[in-house]
Symmetry: none
């Protein structure tokens, strides 16, 4: 196992800060490991005995460029991550809100990912899936309805495959909706329990007052 990621140590996950008097303050939230590793990997983008520049900051220092995706995948990624897939790396960049800002080269940017500002990484967070209360269900509703209305009837009639596909998706969706309902019911139960506890408390209070 020598030479691979399992023996690398990226240090403790917790970060401590100290003020100007050297007094230790409470632990700060730590940047996600992915961000720290990506930052470090950009800083050390020169590899191999021929000193190829595989990855580096861009000219402005407000983004980075993967100059050689092949060598990046083969040499750089496995030093920092548990894989050597460029696409998995890209997936993570997207998860953390990086944008690909050039169609001509692999250049990525994030407002809080800048040369010399390792401390700023803590301000980058993963995109969340659940924005509000009714979103996914309302969203799927309107989208589906639009779809159904737009799609031409004759195509559907003539395309068995499409129909089968839609059917399959509908079944999947049904299961998801059923699970959502189960979750709702569970939440109701909890709320009811909660409510009954409050009522019991009130009863007791009333009794004590009599």
């Amino acid at each position: 196992m020598s030479g691979n990621v399992m023996e690398l140590n990226f240090g403790s996950l917790d970060q401590f800060s100290s003020d100007q008097n050297g007094v230790s303050l409470k632990p700060l939230r730590c940047p996600a490991p992915f961000l720290l590793k990506t930052y470090d990997l950009v800083e050390q983008g020169i590899e191999g005995e021929d000193g190829i520049k595989i990855v580096s900051w861009n000219e402005e220092g407000n983004g980075f460029v993967v100059w050689s995706p092949a060598e990046f995948s083969e040499l750089t990624l496995p030093k920092y991550f548990k894989h050597n897939n460029f696409s998995s790396f890209i997936r993570q960049l997207n998860t953390y809100g990086f944008k690909k800002i050039s169609s001509k080269r692999w250049e990525f940017q994030h407002e809080k990912f800048q040369k010399g500002c390792r401390h700023m990484l803590v301000e980058i967070s993963r995109k969340k899936c659940e924005p509000s209360v009714f979103p996914q269900y309302l969203k799927s509703c309107s989208e589906e309805n639009a779809m159904t209305n737009n799609s031409s009837v004759e195509e559907d009639n003539n395309n068995h495959e499409l129909l089968m596909e839609e059917n399959k998706n509908l079944k999947k969706e049904r299961l998801e909706l059923q699970m959502q309902i189960a979750e709702c019911k569970a939440l109701e139960m909890k709320l009811l329990e909660c409510l009954s506890q409050y009522m019991d408390n009130r009863q007791n209070k009333v009794r004590r007052l009599c």
Copy 2:
């Protein structure tokens, strides 16, 4: 990267079955990679030049024993997984419902994990987050879905009308489920309002008592 897990290939994720006439049937669900790897790893539990038995089936063949956790972690795990942590392995076993059945040795069991029954792995699934609340109802649902999928594949293929009909019904069902969810959400709101009123009342009561 030679010699580590990233170059191992465990084959396609999809499995196909054929009947006795060699006719290819539709793809079967494939066991989780974790289960296949664990099965294979138990089968090949002898390692090193001194031929130590690191892991093997138990006497009955209905479970397996990790005889040497240290060597298992250091030698076996990284060959099959992207880590060398015994605890991560245990975490996965728990996720898939395995039980530790001895306090004296690292012996694990799962009803569907048996010597010579690699095909049975497909019946093992990850535990879901919400087991207790409405299990029977969800279960019957998924069984129903399985039934629907299995029954009369050829008829469905050949009968466009049936497919259209099913499709229509599924959409109707979807609408009903969405309405159910809307009702649930509305009820939740009322319960929350109710709860907050009780909390306010209690506050007032406390205030009056002071």
